[in-house]
Each structure stands twice: as structure tokens, then as C-alpha cells.
């Protein structure tokens, strides 16, 4: 049985955070991946394609105003989940992976808003002992009101 203070987190949403998708940040991200695709850096080339301009690689959503990182892995709600579970004695965190659904391209110059929600928290008995799996869902919406992507991130606490 999960302690009540952990169960109470299920369904909780964080605050909306705004992300600016800057052209330079897209290039820097693609450079760090080692991805030379001109769609991520060459305006003239990108304009000649069906995209009509520079886009971000799938999985890059620009830089947020509130989180510490360009990834949703440092959102406040994630931290609250991690801290609450750590208090119950599971302080070692492992990345359990991520799942993305992509609906629309993210473009240079977009302003996205991201909302994270605690989708699920459950216990699992594994070879290595008991662990707690938490799923954080983050929804990214652009300035036109289109949902561009959803991310489901799994955290493993041991």
C-alpha cells in the first residue's frame, strides 16, 4: 500500500510554464545531438521544404521560464513527486523512460505552454526489491492553441 501522501499526488497538476522556441537554441540542441539536418538551422533551405521554415527536432520544446532545464524533467511537480516519495524511504531515482506523441511540428519563434500532471503512481515488486513507478504527463500547446505534443515520463524510485 502506498502512503496517503503519495496517493494524494495522483491527478495533481503543476503550474503552466511558458517555453520560447528560439532559432539559436534549436541549432545548439541539434549540434549537441550531432544532427546536421539543415531543417534545424538553415532558414533558406527550410523555407523551401513543406515545413516552410526552421523547425525543432522532435522532443525539443525550447527553453522554459520556470523549469531549470529545456526538458520537463525538472518541473516543480516532478520535484514534488520525487521529494514526497523520497520521504517515504525511496530516495534513489532512476529514469524509467519516456513516451512522446507528436501532433504538430514545433517551429522557430513558437511560444509553447507546458502543463505537467501526475498521471499515475504505483508500487512494483521487482527482483531488486520494491519500487515506486510515477508517470508524469506533460502537454505542450502552441500559441495557436494546438497541442503539439504530449510526453509521458516514468520515474522509478527505489
Amino acid at each position: 500500500m502506498l502512503p496517503q501522501e503519495i496517493v494524494q499526488l495522483i491527478g495533481k497538476t503543476g503550474e503552466i510554464t511558458v517555453l520560447e522556441v528560439e532559432k539559436g537554441a534549436i541549432k545548439k540542441f541539434a549540434d549537441a545531438v550531432g544532427d546536421a539536418n539543415p531543417l534545424y538551422r538553415d532558414e533558406e533551405y527550410a523555407r523551401s521544404t513543406g515545413f516552410g521554415g526552421i523547425v525543432a527536432p522532435p522532443g525539443f520544446f525550447g527553453w522554459p521560464t520556470k523549469w531549470k532545464s529545456a526538458m520537463p524533467f525538472f518541473s516543480e511537480i516532478r520535484q514534488e513527486v520525487v521529494d514526497t516519495i523520497a520521504k517515504a524511504g525511496y530516495s534513489r531515482i532512476l529514469d524509467g523512460g519516456i513516451e512522446y506523441d507528436f501532433y504538430h511540428p514545433v517551429r522557430a519563434g513558437d511560444t509553447l505552454s507546458a502543463l505537467s500532471k501526475v498521471k499515475d503512481i504505483r508500487e512494483r515488486e521487482a527482483k531488486a526489491g520494491k519500487m515506486i513507478l510515477s508517470v508524469i504527463e506533460t502537454t505542450y500547446t502552441n500559441q495557436n492553441g494546438d497541442i503539439v505534443a504530449k510526453a509521458h515520463q516514468t520515474l522509478i524510485s527505489r
Binding site: 549537441a32 522532435p58 529545456a70 526538458m71
Partner: protein, 157 residues
Amino acid sequence: MSKQLYWEDIEVGSQVTPLSKVATTQMLVKWAGASGDFNPLHYEDTFATSQGVGKPIVHGQLKRAWLIQLVTDWIGEQGILKKFSCQFRAMDHPRLMKDMSEPQEGETWWCKGKVTKKYVEGGEHYVDCDIWIENGKGEKTTTGSATVALPSPILSC
């Protein structure tokens, strides 16, 4: 850009064009800056040792980004990545640098994939595939799956 891949080009069992990567300590520093993940686990020996991983490890998010590149390179500009997932199975340690730009000898990682399903739904032409990263010993350290929509010149005519 590489030539466009079409739905007709693919069968179940087809290989995703492999992509090779060499993780270096320099690359991890670059990634930290580009992603904002400054966990010293990825660039500080003493800290990594204190965390029980021996040496600095490659960011999971970077490995994920490699797998996304594997898919987007393969499907070309007219292909659309619809769904993507990956899980981290084992840690990877970067090569150290020999000089300012060249890595020392060591492991090369290969991002690979295989088509598991091919279908049409709501007028779109989909392909599902399993994707993974193999380390220098051929072990899968990251595994995942992707669903892509591909253009179909024959069927859309």
C-alpha cells in the same frame, strides 16, 4: 538530405538505416549546455563514483535524442514521427578526449531499428518499428519503439 523513403519501400523486417555515434566527455558537456541538465553525474569522476556508477555516464536524454535522429534521418522530410518511446536498460560511459577535438580510442555506439508493422489507418500510411542503441559490445543499452507516417505516391494517386 537523403532520398525520401516511401511506404512502398518498406516491409515488415526491413532495417532502419543504422546511425553511428561516439559519446565523448566533450559531447556530454555540450549536451548539458544545450539541454540544461547539469547533473555532475555526467561530467565529474568523483561525483559519479560517489553515486555508484563508477565513471560519468551518458545522459539518457542524449541517447533518446540519438534515437529520434535515427528515425527522422530514415523517414526523410516527408515522413512524420508520430509516436516515440524509449527506456534506458544500461549505462554508457563516454570516451575521454585525446586532444581538443579528437576522442581517444574506444567504443562506438550504433543506433538501429527494425520494422515490426506496416498498416493504413484513416488514410495515413503507418510503419511501426523497434529501435535501440547497441554499445561497443553489441549490448542494447537503450530500447524503444516508433510509429511513423510515410508518403505513399502509389496509393495517394
